[in-house]
């Protein structure tokens, strides 16, 4: 049987990119929530967690409306990049980010908050700007927890189905990620392909989980 591995590679690419981008956004949000007091903090706090509780199709629908070719954001993207966002693999990245960010923010915030305050106080006392306190002290001290949850976020984004199918669609060879390909294979009666892909994803997930656990254990041992 000839197996098309494109969905696997696409998923890995999408997940890697989404994890990296989410790390940037997630760390920033986690820092704000952990260290700053500002108006609307409770709203932001809730908004960050919302994607965890909303059905993925609902999220996908919102994104479709928000980023569609007719929307202002969609227009902006098209004006900057030159092509529309929806129903491209880049849209799959956006979809995946909505799974990774809540996870990252919640865990990174907890990790940052668990850093002994006296280290941050010491750094400030020694004249370090807030920016340096974060990059040189807080983040390095929380790095293993954050790395562990990044690995988990990667695994989570690898498997997104709902949002991806809503805004990236199911275009074989272009936007068909592995989760979508499995659904497609089952739907079209290609049991052998579905089984192979399912096994590959399962093995990958277990491997990733063991890495994440090892990282978390090392942080705990520090």
């Amino acid at each position: 049987m000839q197996i098309d591995w494109f969905p696997l590679w696409l998923s890995l690419k999408v997940a890697s990119l989404a994890t990296l981008l989410s790390l940037g956004v997630g760390l920033w949000l986690a820092y704000l929530l952990a260290n700053r007091r500002f108006r609307g903090k409770a709203v932001l706090d809730a908004a960050v967690v919302l994607p965890l509780v909303l059905p993925p199709t609902v999220l996908g629908y919102y994104l479709l409306v928000l980023l569609g070719r007719e929307s202002p954001l969609g227009h902006l993207y098209e004006w900057v990049v030159g092509s529309p966002l929806v129903f491209t693999w880049q849209a799959a990245v956006v979809a995946a980010m909505f799974h990774a960010i809540p996870l990252l923010v919640i865990s990174a915030r907890a990790a940052l908050e668990s850093v002994d305050r006296s280290y941050e106080r010491a750094a400030r006392n020694l004249g370090a700007s807030e920016w340096r306190v974060f990059w040189r002290v807080s983040l390095p001290l929380a790095r293993r927890s954050i790395l562990a949850v990044s690995v988990l976020a990667f695994a989570r984004t690898l498997g997104d189905f709902g949002i991806t199918i809503m805004i990236a669609g199911n275009i074989p060879g272009r936007t068909q990620t592995i989760a979508v390909a499995i659904y497609d294979a089952v739907e079209s009666g290609n049991g052998a392909l579905a089984r192979t892909l399912v096994i590959v994803v399962s093995v990958l997930a277990i491997a990733i989980l063991s890495i994440a656990n090892r990282l978390a254990a090392r942080q705990a041992a520090q």
Partner: protein, 356 residues
């Protein structure tokens, strides 16, 4: 010179009672000890000066710079206060080597000068050999010296120390005292040292501020305070006094004499100015000022028969505890003379008696 007037209130919460801090003091070069039980506001005072906590009201001045002033809403961030801070757990960055810890504190200096300054501090505090190690690979004394070096590398105008000798064994304590004295002679800046160890106050303190429940209850040199505690609370906090309830039954300014009723006994003391006959007072007397003798016949003046409960051996002295909470501290030879006593008399020398 640091001048501080700090007022900070914490309303009651489900997990904590209300607390308010109201202190006003100043400290010149030398070591000023903040002494008091836990929860008296000592660390909060340091944190207000360092800028980790913003007081509600007051004003904090270091030399001629205003660090905090409530009316004009000045509140410098910790970064701009030029206060060295030695934390209770030292707070050395665990992911950096000792050298990096020092370099972090000197990062605002130009590269070459930074390097020179780090080396100089490493040398001064005998840390050059271990400069490449991380904090968890250092001994307690090395960590302590490193945290002091790190606090001083930026040439602060004030050194704040939050119980730096807590939990250290006797040798490390002595080492730390020596380091701090060295710092005093070399840097000549005021140091505020938080402690609840009385020996430390005497060992290091030029001045002493006693805090209790957020209020300053007495200040002065440790010796002066130990000789004349302002009130019974201070005497209790110092923990070095016998305190008995007594009543003044006679006052004679002409002969500089007083008589105190203490339980069923009467003691002669010096005249107590500002007291009246019939006053209920606290009689305070230090354990080492009391004497003992064997009881044979009738007790003499100022001698009180007492039942010995137990003796506690100390390195240089022996403490005798009698019924009625009377503690007596004797030198070893003195104790050996009285070892065979069956019944005891405790002698209250007239000059040793103070009332609070």
């Amino acid at each position: 010179m640091i001048q501080a007037r700090i007022r900070k209130r914490f309303p009651a919460r489900p997990d904590a009672a209300a607390f308010s801090l109201e202190v006003e003091f100043q400290a010149a070069a030398g070591v000023t000890v903040l002494f008091g039980p836990s929860g008296s506001g000592k660390t909060l005072t340091l944190d207000s000066i360092a800028g980790f906590v913003a007081p509600d009201e007051g004003r904090i001045m270091l030399d001629d710079e205003i660090l905090f002033d409530a009316p004009s809403e000045v509140c410098l961030p910790p970064q701009a206060r030029h206060c060295g801070y030695v934390f209770q757990n030292y707070a050395l960055f665990p992911h950096m080597t000792l050298r990096q810890n020092l370099a972090f504190a000197a990062e605002r200096r130009p590269r070459l000068e930074r390097h020179r300054r780090v080396n100089e501090m490493l040398e001064r505090f005998h840390l050059t050999e271990v400069a490449g190690r991380r904090p968890h690979e250092l001994s307690g004394g090395q960590k302590q010296r490193c945290s002091i070096a790190r606090a001083l590398i930026g040439s602060p105008k004030l050194l704040l120390l939050d119980e730096p000798a807590r939990g250290l064994d006797a040798q490390l304590r002595a080492e730390f005292y020596a380091v701090l004295r060295q710092v005093q002679t070399e840097f000549q800046i005021p140091s505020l040292l938080v402690t609840h160890d009385l020996d430390e106050c005497f060992e290091l303190g030029d001045e002493m501020l006693i805090l209790r429940e957020g209020r300053l209850v007495q200040s002065g040199s440790p010796r002066a305070i130990a000789e004349r505690p302002a009130n019974v609370e201070v005497a209790r906090l110092l923990g070095i006094f016998n305190l008995f309830q007594a009543e003044i039954v006679e006052l004679d300014p002409q002969r500089n004499l007083s008589r105190l009723r203490f339980g069923e006994f009467e003691l002669a003391g010096n005249y107590f100015p500002g007291r009246l006959r019939g006053d209920r007072v606290w009689l305070s007397v230090r354990p080492e000022q009391l004497g003992v003798s064997a009881r044979d016949g009738k007790p003499g003046p100022n001698q009180v028969p007492a039942q010995l409960l137990r003796t506690i051996e100390k390195p240089q002295t022996v403490r005798l505890e009698f019924a009625g909470d009377i503690g007596v501290e004797l030198s070893r030879p003195e104790f050996d003379k009285h070892k065979q006593n069956k019944e005891w008399l405790v002698w209250f020398p007239q000059d040793a008696l103070r009332v609070l």
